[in-house]
Amino acid sequence: MSGKSVQGLLSALFGVLVGLILGLLVVWGAGENPLTVLRILARGAFGSRYDLGMTLFYSTPLIFTGLSVAVVFRAGMFNIGAEGQLTVGTIAAAMAGILLPFLPMPIAPLVAWVCASLAGAAWGAIPGWLRARRGSHEVINTIMLNFVAAGLCSYFALYPLRNLQSQNPETRGIASQFKLAPFPLFEGAPVGWALPLALLMALFVWFLLWRTVIGFEWRAVGLNEVAARAAGIDVARARVGAFAFAGALAGMVGVAEVLGNSGRFRVGFSPEYGFMGIAVALLGRNHPAGVVAAALLLGALHKGAAELDLETDRVTRDLSLVFQGLIILCVSAEGWWFQNRRRKATAGSQKSTGVVPASNSP
């Protein structure tokens, strides 16, 4: 590792530490013993094979969304739209499972996987295209598209594909040959082939970004758009391509949710996996290995905090959100005293080049 990435890792760890301490201060302020809460969090996340399985179950979508955000970051843009992309991918997986019941076993889940990826990719390509061709900023567009996706997918779940047997806003169930059985190792926790798929995708993202021409072009655009254009790289194509690929990654959450867990699309199934993906990418320094590690950390926090409702009187599972918010704030800060000292040495190299501040470029 180069000196720069070691420093990046250290400031991420420092940010996590400060965020955790602030979160524990909130716990203390609420009148609970921080050490007790820490113990409950750890036991809830790793206490048994089932608990560990649930932690991995929450981590899997976070790997997908974290990778999605990281890929777009590397291409010099922001993907606040993983939430919308995963919603579209999930309804597409459910549609495949409902509308194509004649497909046989080995082909069926593969088709659903492709549908989820393509739907996510199409949804992701929209902000990439708008940025490349119309010059409108992807942050606002992705935020708006999240709401559009939520509205459209609720329409499908409430009208054409509605589950008439249930009062819940959800689609009908998918045909059984689409389902991926959970691994027995985790005693019933819904962890199946989606987890290896997520790890495989992490590997693939690394390969694509650092071992192929396409990935090189995306990173070149992210590092310096002007130089990339001068070198003959099609910047517009890189933007659309990176965003579409990111959308496909987020769309694969549909494989974990529909094929591996509920067997249908449920409105509101995601506890903001898309937004948590921003935290995952940030903590993981936009590197696939870091993303996997950060997804495990936040997955564990999410699962561990679920136990707080029952085991404490004063704090609830919402503490997980407080921890996340504080950790993201502290990790994203660039002006800690030790960073100021480092900055002085490299002053001048921090000039911003456009709408995305220089501090975003990886």
């Binding site: 942050v139 567009n141 598209l145 921003i278 935290a279 609830t316 996340q324 501090s359």
Partner: protein, 291 residues
Amino acid sequence: MILDELGASTLRVSTPLVFAALGGLYSERAGVVNIALEGMMLVGAFAAAAGTYFAHDPWVGAAAGMASGMSLAAIYALFVISLRANQVVAGTAINILALGLTPLLCKALFEVTSSTPSIPLSDRFHSAPVVAAWILVLVSWIVVQRTPAGLWLRFAGENPDALDSAGVRVNFVRWVAVLISGGLAGLGGASLSLFLSSSFSRNMTAGRGFIALAALIFGKWRPVPAAVACLLFGCFEATQIRLQGITFPGGGSFPVQFVQILPYFLTILVLAGFVGQSRPPRALGLPFRRE
């Protein structure tokens, strides 16, 4: 008759949006992206409901809502202005923080996480927020377009280096703008829990902070057009609420989702220049450091 009702209900439901969009205006015109409006509204809605519950006076509640919005804005300003955290990332973090803190505080004060106790009709607002919101639109127009302070504000967002050369501290202007932004968003939240409903409930803003942001962009970052955009989006919401009650003769209901997505859809079109053109302040999103 139906149109009268629709007009009145449009005015009502657009009120929180007007407050929040004005809040966004101050921050963004000063060069600080504010996607944290949603979180600031949410804490404002909670503090206003809690304050009114204990004080039996909606004005105390509104003050509490404003103060809580400003407190969250102070945390935001600390990170994005003083610690130069990325504004989009930190804004997302503030929203997540508010989503988690409000039920925790609700549990601490009222023993439940889902909602605050209901506030009696006599302790709620009836029309004051609507009037206050539109007075503030007028005041903001004067302040932003016609006063020296407004000039500083606009320069902090368009050309911070020039403002710095003129001897005005850019980051001071931005701090004040973000605090005003939080106060206004907090009032927006207060009008949600004390005017449009009778208590705070979990995640009750439900994306209104983002609709306000959309209205701000739709109104090209100017006070009066942004407020008019809030009316338009409020009209969508009012229409959607009316349509929800309607059932077709065959037993089906109107798919209101298509009305719900309109504000977001239109904002994308406007930003892309398909319908008019909306250009953000030039230094929006860039941290300021003296060379």
